[in-house]
């Protein structure tokens, strides 16, 4: 397929819609650089995910993306497919460090942090070592030793579970203040409006918070935490995503016989196309030129190596 080479046109390139903490704007006065997106391991799935480092504030952010089918943006005088909205929110770096500490624990010995936080796949993980107060953070999840002037760490499951329990507790508090419905699935349309909260039980809150925290730790640790919190086995396995709205009509567009008296020729020639349905054809001819730029930078993984050998 021939591609139009007009991706240099700014409006044709992919535009990303982001929500950032406001203070990044103020902090930007002092920075010429130091904000960077990198791919690091997602401590839950073990796969790559995007994070933002602010090297000036020495802070780590995670990035969640809002996606809903059948959405697009109008951005000033342009259209942007996908309708994605990226959320940049501060992240506790300990979740990422924990991933490496657990991995390193297979060695069964105390190690300096720079030997723990190494990753062939995601070499940018060394940026984690530049974050402040790591020592303090690591006390939550490790046993430490100081030999000479060097610190050595060893993963401690006991301490970690204690730390995670605190995380669960502060999440429970936030769930309550944010009026988030944590009970059994609710189909009601008033779901997000946050009525009828009082009926939710404490156990539901803990389970829900445990579930949220589990998105940042390994499955194994999540199971251990479940036991540690003395949560009964959850009878319902993973919930399914909420179902789509009911489709009200599958009919293709049809202007009935009413104007055929004026228009018989048109109708005859166009009838057969029409049965192919407008949407199908529309999709078949979607312009792919704009998608070149979508060929994402981070997503370039599948493609053959660019440049560097």
């Amino acid at each position: 397929m021939a591609r139009r080479e007009d991706c240099g046109d700014g409006a044709r390139a992919r535009q990303h819609v982001f929500l950032l903490p406001e203070y990044l704007k103020d902090a930007s006065k002092k920075m010429k650089s130091g904000l960077m997106f990198v791919k690091l391991v997602n401590p839950c799935s073990g796969e790559g995910a995007l994070y933002l480092f602010n090297m000036c504030l020495q802070q780590l952010f995670e990035i969640k993306v809002f996606k809903e089918k059948h959405h697009s943006w109008f951005i000033n005088q342009s259209v942007q497919s996908g309708g994605l909205l990226h959320f940049v929110t501060p992240m506790d770096p300990l979740f990422l460090l924990l991933h490496y500490l657990i991995k390193a624990d297979k060695e069964g010995k105390f190690q300096p942090l720079d030997q723990v936080v190494v990753d062939d796949m995601f070499p940018n993980c060394i940026l984690l070592l530049k974050l402040p107060e790591l020592e303090k953070l690591l006390q939550h999840v490790t046993e430490g030793k100081e030999i000479g002037k060097k610190k050595y760490y060893k993963y401690s499951k006991e301490k970690t579970l204690k730390w995670l329990e605190k995380k669960v507790n502060q999440t429970v508090a936030a769930l309550k203040t944010n009026n988030i419905n944590v009970g059994a699935r609710v189909q009601s349309t008033a779901f997000f409006s946050g009525h009828q909260i009082s009926s939710d039980k404490e156990e539901d809150y803990i389970r829900y918070a445990h579930g949220l925290i589990s998105d940042y730790i390994t499955k194994e640790l999540s199971d251990d935490l479940c036991k540690y919190l003395k949560l009964p086995e959850d009878p319902a396995s993973l919930p399914k995503p909420p179902s789509k709205k009911v489709k009200l009509s599958d009919e293709p567009v049809e202007a009935k016989e009413d104007y055929t008296k004026f228009n018989t020729k048109d109708m005859k020639t166009e009838k057969k196309n029409s049965k192919m349905t407008a949407a199908q054809k529309a999709l078949a001819k979607v312009d792919k030129t704009g998608m070149k730029s979508i060929d994402s930078f981070f997503g370039a993984k599948n493609k053959k190596k660019v440049g560097k050998t």
Binding site: D9, G10, A11, R12, A13, R14, Q15, H16, V17, F18, L20, P21, E22, L24, K25, S28, M31, K32, S33, G34, L35, M36, F37, V38, K39, L40, L52, C56, F66, K69, H71, S72, W73, F74, I75, V79, S81, L85, F87, D92, D120, M121, F122, P123, N124, K136, K166, A174, L175, N178, A190, S193, V286, D287, T289, G290, M291, F298, K301, K305
Partner: protein, 166 residues
């Protein structure tokens, strides 16, 4: 993993130019309830904006012969909206021009490190504090998924806050 297959190594960095966060002009955004399968210029100001009407319960417009109902959605307090775009590659040495202003933060890395071909740059082209959310024939209302998503930053704050030391 030991194999260290270089093709799989994720060493890319995308540098977001801080200065663009301060200078970004404000932008008009509409989130539409349909997929337009392309990124391209579109005469929104000529075809869409002038057709918006204030109806009895919300905004009304049509797009491609279908009726849309809309409402303004505010970005939650403490957050700012930005539209960002990747810069074209190979801008070479101008990437960080005039690095001698003493009141500015030192570069975290020497400039040559930024010219690796797995580094790219992106900047904010525009900023926003609200956008118009459109639903197909009905006002999206409080149940709209995106509205629910907007509550994430406040919950994230709680999940990721440091826990008190023992």
């Amino acid at each position: 993993m030991e194999s260290g297959d270089e093709e799989d190594v994720e060493k890319h960095r995308i540098h977001l130019r801080p200065v663009t966060l301060r200078s970004a002009p404000s932008v008009t955004l509409h989130l539409l309830p349909c997929e337009v399968g392309v990124n391209r210029p579109a005469p929104v100001g000529r075809f869409f904006t002038p057709a918006i009407r204030q109806g009895p319960d919300g905004l009304e417009v049509s797009f491609r012969g279908r009726r849309l109902r809309g409402e303004e959605v505010e970005v939650p307090p403490g957050l700012l909206g930005y539209v960002m775009a990747m810069e074209e590659k190979s801008l070479g040495k101008q990437d960080f021009p005039g690095g001698s202003d003493s009141d500015e933060q030192e570069l975290v890395e020497p400039p040559e490190a930024l010219e690796r071909d797995f580094d790219r740059f992106m900047g904010a082209s525009a900023s926003f504090q609200r956008f118009t959310l459109w639903g197909l024939e009905t006002v999206p209302g409080p149940d709209a998924k995106v509205r629910a998503a907007l509550t994430w930053p406040s919950l994230a704050q709680a999940i990721h806050a440091q826990v008190p030391q023992d």
